[in-house]
């Protein structure tokens, strides 16, 4: 009786330490990939019949259920994989894919989800989901940065030198990991009011000049997923000005603003372009 007790005790300790190791591996993988799988189960069904057995062909249908989240987006997947093993090779094909995602407020995602389901492209779904979430977080951080730094102007501060860069996509991707709090040299406040109309996860930012309240610049930043699952940011500028100003605008600055903004993005990159845009609203206050 005593011996079985001590054996039971030892194996229980082993079990707990093994479980601890596995759980830390799971936590690590979750941090590494940014995807957290909370639940998973699988059922298999052997579809090999006698005819196939004679030709030494084995057919197995696997039914998988997976659920978890990628930052703020939770997903639930059900998919089927058909495995066919013949003499030469083993082929695995996803024969059915069903995806449920929350939150549903990211409208760009619903189209992407139906495309992924149609193509039964499970891996593309996760890859694009990761890049989509990455871009959304970057957009949120950038908008929040500008919102926090907007307010009444402070005198006698130096302005930022714009960063000129050819490969703006690479530059902006590199800048995601930049730590905004380390920016000691640019603690200035922009003389403009920045407003996020849709809240924290807004897809647009409205900039109003504090000295000229009739003028407003709305920057719309959409994160789009194309047919191939590639995630691309798409920024647009919508200027707003009083009628009188439009009449005085002989150089058609306001009309050509959206196009010029696109060109500006290509040269300066997203952050510097937004910064110079905000500053341009109130150049008079900067003396």
């Amino acid at each position: 009786m005593y011996q079985s007790d001590s054996e039971g005790w030892a194996s229980s300790k082993d079990l707990r330490s093994h479980l601890g190791h596995l759980e830390s591996e799971l936590r690590f993988l979750s941090t590494l990939t940014g995807i957290s799988i909370r639940n998973y189960s699988m059922k298999t069904e052997d579809l090999t019949n006698t005819e196939k057995k004679e030709k030494s062909i084995m057919k197995v249908l696997q039914r998988h259920r997976l659920s978890g989240n990628c930052r703020m987006i939770t997903f639930q997947l059900e998919f089927q994989i058909l495995e066919i093993q013949n003499k030469e090779s083993l082929s695995s094909v996803i024969t059915d894919l069903n995806i449920i995602m929350e939150p549903t407020e990211y409208s760009e995602l619903s189209e992407f989800v139906s495309r992924a389901e149609e193509r039964r492209d499970l891996l593309m779904f996760f890859r694009s989901l990761h890049f989509f979430v990455e871009w959304c977080e970057y957009r949120k951080r950038t908008f929040e940065h500008f919102k926090e730094r907007s307010g009444p102007a402070r005198r006698g501060v130096t302005s930022l030198q714009p960063v000129v860069c050819r490969d703006w996509e690479a530059e902006t991707k590199r800048l995601h990991s930049r730590d905004w709090s380390q920016d000691q040299c640019t603690k200035e406040k922009y003389p403009a009011a920045v407003h996020l109309p849709e809240g924290a996860a807004s897809s647009c930012m409205a900039v109003r000049s504090t000295c000229q309240p009739g003028f407003e610049l709305v920057i719309v930043w959409r994160v789009q997923i194309d047919e191939e699952g590639k995630v691309l940011p798409k920024l647009d500028l919508l200027p707003k000005a009083p009628q009188q100003a439009l009449k005085l605008d002989r150089n058609r600055v306001l009309e050509t603003a959206p196009l010029s903004f696109r060109a500006l993005l290509g040269t300066l990159g997203i952050e510097a372009a937004l910064e110079s845009l905000i500053k341009s609203l109130c150049t008079a206050d900067y003396d």
């Binding site: 690590f28 998988h64 998919f79 191939e228």
Partner: protein, 263 residues
């Protein structure tokens, strides 16, 4: 007795008869009601008796069970029972965690912790067909470095690791995943073209190791007198499995101009 033509007396007799009839009916009805009530009463009486018996049985059984439980808990050691159920819970949790770790391959990235760091496995697929997987063994030190890997030489691994490995490992892995999946997709399509459309090809399918430059001659009809066309597919974007430039020529002359499927 004379039949007196006395309406009152005749009415009286008939009325009396009627009254008697009514009385009889009433008393009969009362008797029936009484009998019915008595039947119901006796039925309820039996029911009450049955329920009382059942109650007594259940009371006795409950007492017995309590006694049994008290007796059994005395024999068993108090700390053994919770530990068994804890073990069961831990076992089940372990199986669940193991399964989840296996399931990570469906995200494209899975891995195992090693003594040095982590060995990441990148899985590839194209249109639902699960294809090869590649591994990359990372040493977790400052700086992070690649111990060894199975990534083909024509994938720009050095370029990607120089850009992202030290600053954003997640981005590095997913970019690598993108390149590998695109390559696997192109290769799969080229292989399928060679095998499934062999009847349409008028010559060998020429391709490079990256499978981003394909050149072949094909006929519109497998048998028949149709003229062979020369096709050249270029995939400039290494992260996609679709060509960016396609040229089709007929007898050396350009039949169709090149077009770009991406701007």
């Amino acid at each position: 007795m004379e039949w007196a033509n006395d309406g009152k007396t005749r009415g009286g007799v008939l009325a009396h008869l009627e009254r008697l009839e009514i009385q009889v009916n009433r008393s009969r009805k009362n008797l029936e009601d009484l009998q019915r009530a008595q039947a119901v009463e006796s039925a309820l009486g039996t029911k009450i008796h049955k329920l009382r018996c059942l109650r007594d049985e259940l009371r006795a059984e409950a007492k017995q069970r309590q006694a049994r439980v008290k007796a059994s808990t005395v024999n068993v050691e108090p700390d053994q029972t919770p530990e068994i159920s804890e073990q069961e819970v831990a076992k089940r949790r372990k199986e669940n965690v193991k399964a989840i770790l296996q399931a990570y391959r469906f995200t494209g990235l899975s891995g195992k912790l090693t003594s040095r760091g982590v060995c990441v496995c990148i899985s590839t697929a194209f249109e639902g067909n699960l294809l090869d997987s590649y591994f990359i063994d990372l040493v977790i030190q400052k700086p992070l470095r690649i111990h060894h890997h199975s990534i083909p030489v024509f994938i720009p691994l050095e370029e990607l690791s120089a850009k992202y490995l030290q600053t954003n490992i997640q981005h590095f892995l997913f970019c690598l995943c993108e390149y590998l999946n695109a390559y696997a997709g192109r290769k799969y399509q080229a292989d399928r073209l060679q095998s499934d459309f062999a009847a349409f090809l008028a010559g060998p399918l020429r391709r490079n190791s990256l499978c981003n430059l394909l050149s072949f001659t094909y006929k519109v009809e497998p048998r028949g007198q149709s003229f062979p066309f020369c096709a050249r597919l270029l995939y400039k974007d290494l992260t996609t499995a679709l060509p960016t430039d396609v040229t089709v020529t007929y007898q050396g002359k350009r039949k169709y101009c090149t077009f770009c499927s991406h701007d």
